[in-house]
Every structure is written in structure tokens, then in C-alpha cells.
């Protein structure tokens, strides 16, 4: 049982990353019916911006002999990085998506993909192939609760991401901007007639999604403090899968599917092997049914199965989105 809860904690941590990134995909997809394939790389850019902001703050703090507590630095870093990265998101929208709004949606997806490659390569060209390590702001403390060891980092990550999701939910449900976003998601063509600028809403959607991705990037680098230009690819595509799994444009769905993705990935490799010596399974060394190298295969097969039976995702409504060719 201890083992189980230990894995629950790990799954919650990974689920937070996936959920935060998936929210960005899901909002863009829900509001504008576009795939933002640059989102995984915006996560990477967010992590790097966070790195520079935090390093800068540390330098300023040490020079002015100001005694800022480290948690405050982290909070400031997250806020600044979210703010700055949202502009990166808006820039991506302005350059790659707005000129193509009347074009087939697939073309916009391609520009997104290409902007992602430019972000990766640009980072590589600017900063070199050297990996940077994120300054460790929080000293790791391990709490032992009934045999389950939980680090304070994991608690921070899960709590901050839950808080951000709550803020996003409130924003979308309670504010006028949120209402405009929901209206755009509901009917793309009528909203401009009501005096709402689609351009503003698109920029807002991209900005919000990118800010969340930046938060995910910093939280990720708190847990795994080595940054490299290609860190966003795999996690980004997986979060994209999670966003679709959640259902089109459903914020709750994207968040839950992100956590589900984390749980599937963690728990797939700890299923105990029921037949330790029987033929097909004895190929794999016991005690687990699937070796960790099979993680992606099994995780994606499960997702394929879910999508086979719930083709509109977990929380999506039936819709007939078409590529506008």
C-alpha cells in the first residue's frame, strides 16, 4: 500500500506538468480550433526564461545584499516568467497563426511546427549545446507520512499547478475576457459581430496558454533542474495527446486528462507480474509485468483504447471539426 501511495505522489507530480501544458493546447484548440504545435517548445522557452529571471533575481539579491527568502524568489520567478512567456505565445500567434486564419487549419499547424523548430534551434544557436542547470532555490526536505516519502518540491509543484488551474477556471468563468473566450469557442463567426475582436481573443488565448506552459517549465526545472533545448518535444506531444484525450476545449477535461496521463505512465510500469515464471512473461524480468522501456507503448495503447470507445475524449462533446480545405 505504501508503494502504491508513493507512486500516486509521483504520478501527481508528472500529471501536474502534463495538465498545465495540456491546458494551453486545449484552450487554443477549443477557442480557435487550431493545433498549436509550438506549445511544447514554448514550455521549453518558459523554462529558459524562468532560468534567466531566477538567476537575475539571485544576482540582484546578492549584489544589493537584500535578504529575500528563496520561496519568494521562486514565486517572483514564476510570475515574471509567465508574464514574459505570454508575449512569446502572442508573438507565435501573430507570426504563425494570424496570417493563416483563413487558410486550411493544417497549414497553421505546420507553421506552428516550424516555429517550434525555430525556437529549439534558435536556443541552440544562441546558448550553445551546453545544458544549463536551474539554480536550486528550495532545499529538498523529505517528509515521511506513514512510510510514503514526499519531498517539499513535489508538494510545491502539485499545489502551485492546482492553484494555477483554479485561477484559470475562475478567469474563464467569471471575467468578461473569459466570457469572450467561451463565446468564441461557441461560435467563431458570430462573436466578431458582437464587437469582440477575434485577434484580441486569439492573442489572449495564446498568452494564457503560454503563461501556464512557462509555469510548468519552471516547476519542471525545480524537479529536474537540467535544461536543454529539446526538453519540450516529448513532454509537449504527450501533453497534446492528453489535451485531446480530455475533449475539445474542455479545461476540466484537459486538466484531468493530464493527471490521467501521469497516472497511466507511472502505474503502467509498476503492475506486478502475476505469472513470474510463465512463458510469455518470463521474457521480461520479474517482478513487474511491463519493463519501463515499454512505458510509452502501453501508455499510448491504453489511450488509443480510450479514444476508440470515447472518440470525442473524456469530456468533449460530439462535433464535426473539419480541416478547412
Amino acid at each position: 500500500m505504501t508503494f502504491f501511495f508513493q507512486n500516486v505522489v509521483n504520478a501527481l507530480q508528472w500529471g501536474s506538468f502534463y495538465a498545465l501544458i495540456a491546458l494551453g493546447y486545449s484552450m487554443v484548440y477549443g477557442v480557435l480550433l487550431l493545433f498549436n504545435f509550438a506549445h511544447g517548445d514554448i514550455f521549453m522557452v518558459g523554462a529558459y526564461i524562468g532560468f534567466f529571471v531566477v538567476s537575475g533575481l539571485l544576482a540582484v539579491a546578492s549584489m544589493s545584499s537584500l535578504l529575500l527568502p528563496n520561496w519568494l524568489l521562486l514565486v517572483l520567478g514564476i510570475i515574471f516568467a509567465m508574464f514574459l512567456t505570454s508575449f512569446v505565445g502572442m508573438l507565435v500567434e501573430r507570426v504563425g497563426y494570424r496570417p493563416l486564419r483563413a487558410a486550411p487549419r493544417a497549414s497553421a499547424a505546420i507553421t506552428g511546427l516550424m516555429i517550434g523548430i525555430i525556437l529549439e534551434t534558435g536556443n541552440l544557436a544562441l546558448l550553445g549545446a551546453r545544458r544549463v542547470s536551474f539554480p536550486s532555490l528550495i532545499a529538498t526536505t523529505t517528509y515521511n507520512i506513514g512510510g510514503v516519502s514526499i519531498t517539499n518540491k513535489k508538494i510545491t509543484i502539485v499545489l502551485v499547478s492546482l492553484l494555477l488551474m483554479l485561477v484559470l477556471h475562475q478567469f474563464v468563468q467569471r471575467t468578461k475576457w473569459g466570457m469572450a473566450m467561451r463565446a468564441t469557442a461557441f461560435d467563431f463567426s458570430v462573436v466578431p459581430l458582437m464587437g469582440v475582436s477575434i485577434n484580441t481573443i486569439a492573442a489572449l488565448t495564446f498568452g494564457l496558454g503560454s503563461a501556464l506552459a512557462a509555469a510548468a517549465g519552471i516547476l519542471f526545472s525545480v524537479a529536474y533542474p537540467v535544461l536543454d533545448p529539446y526538453m519540450g518535444i516529448t513532454i509537449g506531444w504527450k501533453a497534446f495527446v492528453a489535451a485531446i484525450l480530455g475533449g475539445r476545449g474542455s479545461i476540466l477535461g484537459a486538466a484531468l486528462a493530464g493527471f490521467l496521463m501521469g497516472f497511466i505512465e507511472i502505474f503502467v510500469v509498476v503492475i506486478p507480474n502475476p505469472f513470474p515464471t510463465m512463458f510469455p512473461f518470463s521474457l521480461f524480468p520479474a517482478p513487474y509485468l511491463f519493463p519501463s522501456t515499454l512505458r510509452d507503448l502501453v501508455a499510448f495503447s491504453i489511450i488509443l483504447l480510450i479514444l476508440t470507445f470515447k472518440p470525442h475524449g473524456l469530456f468533449g462533446e460530439a462535433h464535426t471539426a473539419r480541416l478547412r480545405l
Binding site: 493545433f35 507570426v95 504563425g96 496570417p99 493563416l100 483563413a102 487558410a103 486550411p104 493544417a106 497549414s107 497553421a108 499547424a109 505546420i110 507553421t111 511546427l113 516550424m114 516555429i115 523548430i117 525555430i118 529549439e120 534551434t121 534558435g122 541552440l124 544557436a125 518535444i233 516529448t234 506531444w237 497534446f240 495527446v241 485531446i244 484525450l245 519493463p291 522501456t293 515499454l294 512505458r295 510509452d296 507503448l297 499510448f300 495503447s301 489511450i303 488509443l304 479514444l307 476508440t308 472518440p311 470525442h312 460530439a318 462535433h319 464535426t320 471539426a321 473539419r322 480541416l323 480545405l325
Partner: protein, 449 residues
């Protein structure tokens, strides 16, 4: 005058800019050169390169014949720009232009004569000439041969993905997966049957038989890919929407992970020592075959049904199109050709590993399709050729290559969102036709007087 050139000169003359007029003026003398004339010119040019290339390159201060039109040399040493330009002008541009212009009337008569026979005669002659040009050009160095083969394989991949993304209007991300299945399927077939290697032991059949069985191996690879495609198709064609994108993406991950865990074929270490059967003629023949079959497919009733499904599935259904069956067939068909391309790819490089068929490959194939143009057959050819050649030519730029190519693609997408040559039928007859009929020639001359 052919339809294609007519459209082009029309577009240019309406453009009020002077560049357009200039281009128009340059193009005017060549507007009546048929494809045959261009091929003759190119043949002379590459033959000239074989004879004089090394000599001329030495005179111009280069060590050897520039591999890809001098791009690589120029990017390494900027001082060589004039000599590279001079080389390209003297060896390629000048002979092609002069021969094409001078032989225009002869080539027109010849093309007309050829068309009086059954079509395939003319097609074979043109393809023979094209192969001669390609073979001579690639014969200069092993590097060129490799680039030519990979480009041809790129054409096959792009053509087959265009069936799904262009003609069917879905967004499929599973081509790397199909390619991987084809590559491994074909490799395992040839290596089990004909090669004495460490992975599979002594050959089952006499190795001398091998090259003749290579088509079987490729078909096995294609069939493997098509089998994998059914896995994607069954869940994703239940509904219309973007779910194909996601399911096919998951499929690519699954295939990669599956092969990584398959110790029999080397797992993540990859599989090597495939026999060297995918030489230039083989790849050329398969590419032509692929082009021919896909062109016929998209012009067939089934291909038109596919377009109908894309434009309005409900209406297509009402018009007695079996939409699910149509989509399934097209998808499996595309997967088959991707598998064949993968099989050829494995036998060209003679080493594959699962990492090759990841997201990087996906970005490449998608870029080629959308750069070239959706819903056309000429588009993928243009896309694959320019993308591959550009990729090779910009190689000396190292990191910056992957900034320039995406930027270029973004610009293309902004100005031509469906790609360079989109929504065009590939009409072979139109292509092979003489560009000037004899009676028109007389009128032309009379008008000039």
C-alpha cells in the same frame, strides 16, 4: 502553346511589377520548348559535366566538381562565390538554355511524332531520358547518388502522405510509423532469406536469388505498414474530426517503442548490414511506379470519391459513396507506399534504428507535403526535391540550417497556404505534348512578318 505556360505568362503579364515583366521577357523564347527539349538540354549539360566538369572546376579554383550546384562550397568559402556561379552558368544554365532553345522545333516535331504512337512509348522515352540525366548527374560522386536516392524516396513518402493529408483532407501523423514498419519488414525479409548475418543466421534461400526477390521484400514491407494502418484506421474513421491526428501520433510513438523493445531486430541499437540492392535504377523504377499508381488512384472514381468525402462527408454519403470504405482504402494505400519507401530507405542507408522514425522524421515529411502543395501530384515532387536538395545544400550552415528552412516554409505557408503547387491535376499527356503545333508555327511566323 500548352496550358501550363499559358497560365504562367498570363499571371506574369497581369502583374504590374517590373520583375514580372523581366521574367516574362526571359521566359518568352522558351515558352515553346517541350519537355523533351528540356530533357535533351539537361542530358547534354550533365554529359558535359562528366567530360569537362573536373577540368573546369580546377580552372575556377575549386578542388573538384561542386556536389550540389556549388551551395556547399560557397557556404564554406565565400571567396568562391563567383567561380561557383560561373560553374553553374557554364555547365548547367548555358547548355540547357541553348540546347533547349535550338532544339525546340526539332523536339516539338519529335514529341508530336512520339505521341502518334501509343502513349506509353512517349512516356518510356521521356522516362529513359530523365533516368539518363539523373544517372549521369549522380554518377559523378557517391554523395550525389545517395542524395538522389534519398530524394526519390522522399518523393514517394510525400506522394503517399499527400493522399491522406491532401486528397482525404485529414491530418495524419503516422507516416514515420508506417515507414518504420516498412523498413523493418523489408529488412527482416531480405536478411532472413538472403543474408548471412549475426541477427538471423545463415540465409534460407540462395543469396543469388536475392535481387530478383527484392520487390517481394518491399511489398512485404508495404503490407506490414498497411497492416499497421488498419490499427489506426479502425478507431479513427468511426468519427470525423481531428482524432486521426491524435491516434496516428500515438501510433508513431507506439511503433517506435515497440521496435525499441523488440530484441530480435536489435532493439534501440538498430538493425544493420542490409544488402545493397536499392541502387539508383531500382529506386527510380519504384518511384516512377509509385507516381504512376498514385496518379491513377487519385484520378480514379475512388480518388474523386475521396475528394468528395473531404469536401462534405454527408453529401458524399448521400451520393452513394461508401465513405468509411473509401477512407480505409485510401489510408491503407498511402500506408503501403510509405512502407515501400521505408523498405527502400532501409536498403539505401543499410542501417536503421527506431530513433530514425521519430518526431523529426514527422516534421520533415509534413514540411515536404505542405511546402510542395496539397491535393496534387506535381506538388509533392517539387516539395520533396526542393526540401531534400535545400537540406543538403545548407548542411555547412549546421545549426542555422534548421532556422532557415522552417522560416522559408512559414513564408510559403503565409503566401500560399496550401503549398506551392496545390489542387492541380497531373496530366501526363499535357506534359509530354509538343508546346507548339506545326500549323501554329506557320501562323506564328506569318504573324511575325
Amino acid at each position: 502553346m500548352g496550358v501550363r505556360t499559358g497560365v504562367r505568362s498570363g499571371e506574369l503579364s497581369t502583374g504590374r511589377n517590373r520583375l514580372g515583366q523581366l521574367l516574362n521577357r526571359i521566359w518568352a523564347p522558351f515558352s515553346q520548348v517541350p519537355l523533351l527539349g528540356w530533357l535533351l538540354g539537361a542530358l547534354i549539360a550533365v554529359a558535359l559535366e562528366q567530360l569537362l566538369g573536373t577540368y573546369l572546376a580546377r580552372i575556377l579554383g575549386m578542388i573538384k566538381i561542386p556536389a550540389l550546384f556549388g551551395f556547399a562550397i560557397v557556404l564554406k568559402d565565400l571567396a568562391l562565390i563567383p567561380s561557383a556561379i560561373l560553374y553553374v552558368l557554364l555547365i548547367y544554365v548555358l547548355p540547357v538554355a541553348v540546347i533547349a532553345r535550338l532544339s525546340a522545333s526539332l523536339a516539338n516535331r519529335l514529341a508530336a511524332k512520339l505521341l502518334s504512337f501509343p502513349m506509353w512509348v512517349s512516356v518510356i522515352v521521356h522516362l529513359g531520358l530523365l533516368y539518363a540525366v539523373l544517372g549521369l548527374w549522380a554518377g559523378v560522386s557517391d554523395y550525389r547518388t545517395l542524395v538522389a536516392r534519398l530524394t526519390l524516396i522522399g518523393i514517394m513518402l510525400t506522394l503517399s502522405l499527400n493522399v491522406v493529408n491532401g486528397y482525404m483532407g485529414e491530418f495524419s501523423c503516422s507516416h514515420p510509423g508506417f515507414m518504420a514498419l516498412g523498413a523493418y519488414g523489408a529488412s527482416v525479409f531480405t536478411m532472413v532469406a538472403f543474408v548471412d548475418d549475426r541477427a538471423f543466421g545463415p540465409p534460407l534461400l540462395p543469396p543469388a536469388l536475392g535481387p530478383f526477390m527484392f520487390p517481394t521484400a518491399l511489398i512485404v514491407g508495404g503490407a506490414t505498414a498497411a497492416l499497421g494502418a488498419t490499427l489506426v484506421a479502425i478507431p479513427s474513421f468511426r468519427t470525423r474530426g481531428d482524432y486521426l491526428a491524435i491516434i496516428s501520433l500515438a501510433f508513431t510513438f507506439i511503433v517506435k517503442s515497440f521496435i525499441e523493445n523488440l530484441e530480435v531486430v536489435g532493439g534501440p541499437r538498430g538493425l544493420g548490414s542490409q544488402p545493397d540492392w536499392a541502387n539508383l535504377p531500382t529506386v527510380f523504377v519504384w518511384t516512377v511506379l509509385c507516381l504512376w499508381i498514385i496518379n491513377n488512384f487519385v484520378r480514379s472514381t475512388l480518388g474523386k470519391a475521396l475528394n468528395a468525402v473531404r469536401d462534405e462527408e454527408m453529401a458524399a454519403n448521400a451520393m452513394t459513396v461508401n465513405t468509411r470504405r473509401t477512407k480505409m482504402i485510401a489510408f491503407l494505400f498511402a500506408a503501403f507506399w510509405a512502407g515501400v519507401a521505408g523498405g527502400l530507405f532501409a536498403h539505401v542507408l543499410r542501417y536503421i534504428n527506431p530513433g530514425t522514425f521519430g518526431l523529426q522524421k514527422l516534421a520533415e515529411v509534413l514540411a515536404m507535403v505542405y511546402f510542395g502543395g496539397l491535393n496534387s501530384v506535381a506538388g509533392p515532387i517539387v516539395g520533396a526535391v526542393s526540401f531534400n536538395l535545400l537540406g543538403e545544400a545548407l548542411r555547412p550552415l549546421e545549426v542555422y540550417k534548421w532556422i532557415i528552412i522552417p522560416l522559408l516554409l512559414i513564408v510559403v505557408m503565409i503566401f500560399r497556404p496550401t503549398g506551392l503547387i496545390a489542387f492541380r491535376e497531373f496530366d501526363v499527356k499535357n506534359l509530354l505534348e509538343p508546346k507548339q503545333k506545326p500549323e501554329e508555327e506557320v501562323e506564328h511566323v506569318a504573324a511575325a512578318r
